[in-house]
Symmetry: C2
Subunit: 321 residues, 2 copies
């Protein structure tokens, strides 16, 4: 649940006067996103999301995120579109925070996605990769090999509190990935966090992708590996190959994978499982008990990591050559 | 911030099928109310509030609350209107909780209300008192003299932790109020919690009253004393007589007070200040550090209580005879 900053209607009206947004009718803090404060606004023109960027987001990254949403929307991707101010700027300020007004996407995220939805997500991800071409700004992936080392250095000493032997296991995994991580695959703008709560559906039709606040430049197929991790495992930890097959087929229906990308898929899945394991482990060890944010279990991603370590080639994910 | 229960779209769609509510387009958990889980729904017909009643609300009280909103709406008061199911029931069930769909009121609550707004609130409160006539259900006020004794018994022993001498001071106050509390004043349905966050405005015009989950039967002028406490003091603790005068004039423009009601106003203000002091004191002493709910300072209402104790007649609130 995320409303870290309250706003008053006087400041909000002054903020809205900088936009062609109509008359303000109501605003409600909404329980969405964990990094920022979000409000759903009704105006005489249309519903809007107002986002106040809190400290965990680097202000210098905001032009990348907002510019990317604008770029992708212009190329026909269904994603939130930042509303420009009358002076053309996408970013404003409210209650001492950087703030933006963004179009409201109707749709719901699926608590229980099925294979047909995974297919749509795969296709939408590939469309996003293609739509991202030509975007002039870049942002390195802060949560790739180097970032993992930094996170690990902060958690390593206490890792065995979570499970005995973890310090050795993860240390070895990081060494392996450093050596074998692929470099010469197609790269571009990736979403980097396309979990089920960031994909909206109306009925069974995908209606949009949201939350681009981890987007960055990296290997495109790495983004697919994140989706396999976040969409295609069941609650009991089992990989669902039917979902995986649908996800990969959906992706390839829009953007076929090269032989090198297919070959790299297992190691990329190991990397993305490790990435979410490491951020969850860090939060697990550092978030005080009783804090506002729900702690996510790092062991879920440890199990996934171990599954991928045993995969010898991409056919085990459902990929048919 | 209040979303205690998450809901999935499958259960929600089955729930909505019991109503004539249109097609579901989106739902967002909103940070509003502290007792229940609230969601803002967009459907193809209209926006709605979905409330899931959590444990702190007695299920047996729900027909009173929902029936009252229906009764008041029918009599022209701007307040949320429960949408009946196709079978006529106002109350349903979702995710194992009693649940209701309620019309969405546009408007915003004022973080910095002024005297003109207090005048409107006074008038709206009196309109609510008149509109409440003829409502056939009743609910005793659980937070009057008897309830205060129960709360106090749970906090008394630790009261001096908050301020030295508090145990003696509040004990004496309760004794005084038990002896002098008025009995023969006009009674009816009162809101009992009409704080600024429960009154919506569009511009400077009052657009509606919300949150009837403390409503009950009690002395009508006691409700006015709650509003004087919650609207007419400044942040520094000073009583703002301009606001008080406007509030009382607004009330009397719709429902003039009797001489007996006017005479009782100071003691009723003491009682309502004590009521909010006691619930806040109890929460202060029992809510664990770092819990989801923001703890409100009980001393704010102790200061108000002491102010009222020094008041000799209602003219000190701005009432002109």
């Amino acid at each position: 649940m995320a409303v870290y900053t309250d706003i008053n209607e006087v400041d909000l009206k002054a903020f809205l006067a900088q936009y062609e947004a109509g008359e303000l009718l109501s605003y409600k803090g909404i329980a969405e996103g964990v990094e920022n404060s979000n409000f759903l606004l009704h105006t005489s023109k249309f519903p809007l999301i107002l986002t106040l960027y809190e400290k965990r987001v680097e202000k210098s990254d905001l032009p990348f995120f907002l510019g990317l949403m604008h770029h992708l929307s212009e190329r026909g991707l269904n994603c939130p579109l930042p509303l420009p101010r009358k002076d053309g700027e996408l970013l404003g300020e409210l209650s001492g925070r950087p703030a933006a007004l963004i179009s409201f996407l109707e749709g719901m995220w699926l608590r229980k996605p099925e294979a047909q939805h995974c297919r749509e997500v795969g296709a939408a991800l590939a469309k996003m990769h293609i739509a991202g071409e030509g975007f002039e700004l870049t942002r390195p992936n802060a949560l790739s090999l180097e970032g993992w080392q930094v996170l690990w250095a902060k958690s390593e000493a206490r890792a065995d509190e979570v499970e005995e032997g973890l310090e050795a296991e993860i240390g070895a995994e990081l060494d392996f990935l450093s050596i074998h991580w692929p470099k010469d695959l197609p790269a571009g703008v990736i979403h980097a966090d396309l979990f089920p709560d960031n994909v909206f559906f109306l009925g069974d039709t995908l209606s949009g992708l949201i939350d681009f606040y981890f987007a960055c430049n990296d290997l495109l197929v790495y983004d697919l590996s994140i989706c396999l991790n976040s969409w295609c495992f069941e609650k009991d930890g089992a990989y669902n190959i039917t979902k995986g097959k649908a996800m990969i087929e959906g992706y390839q229906s829009v953007r076929p994978l090269s032989a090198a990308e297919i070959e790299a898929l297992p190691i990329l899945c190991r990397g993305s499982a490790l990435r979410f394991f490491l951020t969850r482990l860090y939060d697990w060890l550092t978030t005080p008990a009783g804090a506002l944010v729900v702690k996510k279990d790092p062991l879920e991603y440890l199990k996934k990591l171990r599954f991928h370590r045993a995969v010898t080639n991409a056919s085990e994910y459902g990929l048919i050559a």
